[in-house]
């Protein structure tokens, strides 16, 4: 009898450092499954962010580069321009992608760079202890918005998928979440589609994943899951915002 469930080859045996209930691990697994299914392990280069996932290369078995905070899309651009045959993905948090690296992601998407970005939106800076991010929800308390995020002072959360989808350059831009099995299945489909567009040399692709940070949200994993559904999903709509077929 064949195995029906096993660890993807693209994942190593290393035990992750993520907190209980954190969705970073789920995202890793989905990416690894897609790498296995597409048979691209030997020509994939991942780019780790600065954020909770900075050590993600310890959990993957393919080539990896570790970026500076926010600069992964520029590094991916460098790789794809000189080695278009490689499959390249960046993995970035919301502080990394939507704040310090906003310029890099917008311009890479606008140039139509042929790499894939996995964007982990957990509405806080996880690694540095839960400070406010550009994606933090109105009234959400963080260590640097102790009275709740005040849109009158710091604006509304940035919707990255919508922002990138507004660019005229063709791309694949989608938002999913990882908080329930039914969503996880859709997230995996989106990641696979994103990688396939890259394989076909079609376009830039970004999969935004609404994620949890129970530790910094001060919630149990179950409560965090509920919070994503109740607070984040009405504002951050799930679905495909753009596909290369649109154009």
């Amino acid at each position: 009898m064949g195995k029906i469930f096993q660890k993807p080859e693209a994942l190593s045996d290393t035990i992750t450092h993520y907190c209980p209930g954190c969705t970073h691990g789920v995202a890793h697994r989905l990416i690894a499954e897609v790498i296995d299914e597409l048979g691209i392990h030997g020509r994939t280069v991942g780019i780790a962010p600065v954020g909770c996932a900075v050590l993600m290369y310890n959990y993957f078995t393919c080539d990896f580069q570790e970026a500076a905070h926010g600069r992964a899309p520029a590094m991916a651009t460098g790789i794809k321009r000189v080695r278009p045959d490689l499959m390249v993905f960046t993995y970035q948090g919301d502080g990394d992608l939507a704040s310090i690296g906003l310029s890099e992601i917008v311009h890479a998407a606008n140039r139509g760079e042929k790499f894939t970005t996995i964007f982990i939106n957990n509405a806080v800076y996880g690694m540095t202890g839960g400070q406010m991010a550009p994606t933090t929800m109105p009234d959400q308390r963080t260590t640097t918005s102790p009275f709740g995020r005040k849109p009158s002072e710091v604006g509304m959360p940035i919707r990255m998928a919508e922002l990138l989808a507004s660019l005229e350059t063709p791309g694949y831009i989608v938002r999913q979440t990882l908080v329930k099995p039914k969503y996880v299945t859709r997230a995996k489909k989106a990641i696979k589609k994103a990688f396939m567009y890259q394989m076909e040399n079609r376009c830039f692709s970004m999969v935004e994943l609404l994620s949890t940070c129970p530790t910094n949200w001060g919630m149990t994993p179950v409560a965090a899951t509920k919070w994503v559904e109740e607070k984040m999903m009405p504002y951050y709509r799930l679905g495909e915002f753009k596909t290369p077929e649109d154009d």
Partner: protein, 356 residues
């Protein structure tokens, strides 16, 4: 090969191609935008990569990403742009990837001006970005030398797995001079299978490669820094380059000067010789590693009364000169950095002042 008349900036771009670097990322800035303009036409002819990035910050990471794949890659910029690239430069040194950065310096600080300057000496030789790192810094004094240094820079970057910087003043970029290009560089980047993220399929070993700069364990980070330090010490043993002028006979004053400024000093030295005053010069061709011992020996020579550092800055290299002379005789500084290159007469006047 015959000589061709070329502007410094274009010659620099062509030299990199002949060194086998078919990958160029840049952001426009005066006085070196001609490199990007030249390469935007030339790279497609040779099947190379030309990309104008969105900022110098992004460019430095495009360089990092490409270099980490084991491909020859370079960029050119000028002072404010190099400030923005300094973050990336720190990461690239930490990750031990080879790359070439050309800085055609303009006046600073801030926006400064667009005329020639040598005010980025500290930035190039002492850091600029954070952490304990060094760049091998080459300082051409002519378009011909710029061409040769650019080509050699790739060899050195790969030898040390460390970025190399070409530090030229605006005149080197803007000047038209006859140049002769050396043979195409035949050497392929070696040893990259052991570290480059070129995709596991492209290598013989089944080992995956990881290019990183984070070392959370204090012992590991210290060991990493010691390894880098050993490389910089090897550069100090093997890569000191300088040229001497009028140093064989007796001289009363020793000049230390580099780049375009050293050419003016040569004229001053020739003129003073006619009036019976002997002045010698050491021109560092590499600024890091610095020719400290040679300067010390020359300053210690009988009859040498003082050392003068002549530079288009408010006194930066003079600190390394003082450190080299170690009190053997008085060290002076002369320079300007508004964009006007000091004239031979001004240098001569300064020397006469020291003599009196």
């Amino acid at each position: 090969m015959s000589k061709v008349l070329m502007k410094g900036n274009e010659a620099i771009g062509e030299a990199a191609i002949r060194a086998g670097s078919l990958n160029y990322f840049a952001y426009p800035i005066t006085p070196q935008s001609e490199v990007a303009e030249y390469l935007s036409r030339r790279m497609p002819e040779v099947g190379g990569v030309f990309l104008q990035g969105e900022s110098e910050v992004a460019v430095s990471y495009m360089i990092f990403g490409a270099a980490a794949c084991g491909e020859r890659v370079f960029t050119t910029s000028s002072s404010p742009g190099i400030s923005l690239m300094s973050e990336g430069i720190s990461y690239i040194t930490a990750a031990e990837c080879p790359a070439v950065f050309v800085n055609i310096m303009r006046g600073g600080p801030g926006l400064g001006g667009i005329l020639p300057s040598q005010a980025d000496y500290f930035q190039a030789t002492k850091g600029g970005g954070h952490g304990d790192y060094r760049l091998l810094v080459m300082a051409p004094a002519s378009v011909q030398e710029a061409v040769e240094m650019v080509m050699q820079a790739f060899v050195l970057a790969e030898k040390y797995l460390n970025p190399v910087m070409i530090l030229g003043d605006g005149l080197i970029g803007q000047m038209m001079e006859p140049v002769e290009f050396p043979e195409h560089l035949k050497v392929e980047p070696s040893n990259k299978d052991g570290w480059a993220t070129s995709g596991m399929d492209t290598r013989k070993s089944s080992h995956r490669n990881l290019v990183k700069t984070l070392y959370l364990d204090p012992g590991e980070l210290n060991a990493h820094n010691l390894k880098l330090k050993a490389k910089y010490e090897r550069m100090q043993r093997e890569e000191i380059r300088y040229e001497t002028y009028n140093l064989n006979g007796d001289y009363e004053i020793l000049i230390v000067s580099y780049g375009t400024m050293s050419r003016v000093c040569r004229t001053a030295i020739d003129n003073l010789k006619e009036s019976g005053l002997e002045v010698g010069m050491i021109r560092p061709q590499h600024l890091f590693p610095f020719p400290g011992q040679a300067i010390n020996d020359a300053a210690a020579k009988k009859g040498c009364r003082a050392v003068l550092s002549v530079e288009m800055s408010m006194g930066q290299m003079v600190e390394d000169v003082e450190r080299s002379v170690i009190g053997k005789c008085p060290v002076h500084w002369y320079g300007k950095c508004g964009g006007e290159v000091p004239t031979p007469e001004e240098v001569m006047g300064e020397i006469r002042k020291i003599i009196e």
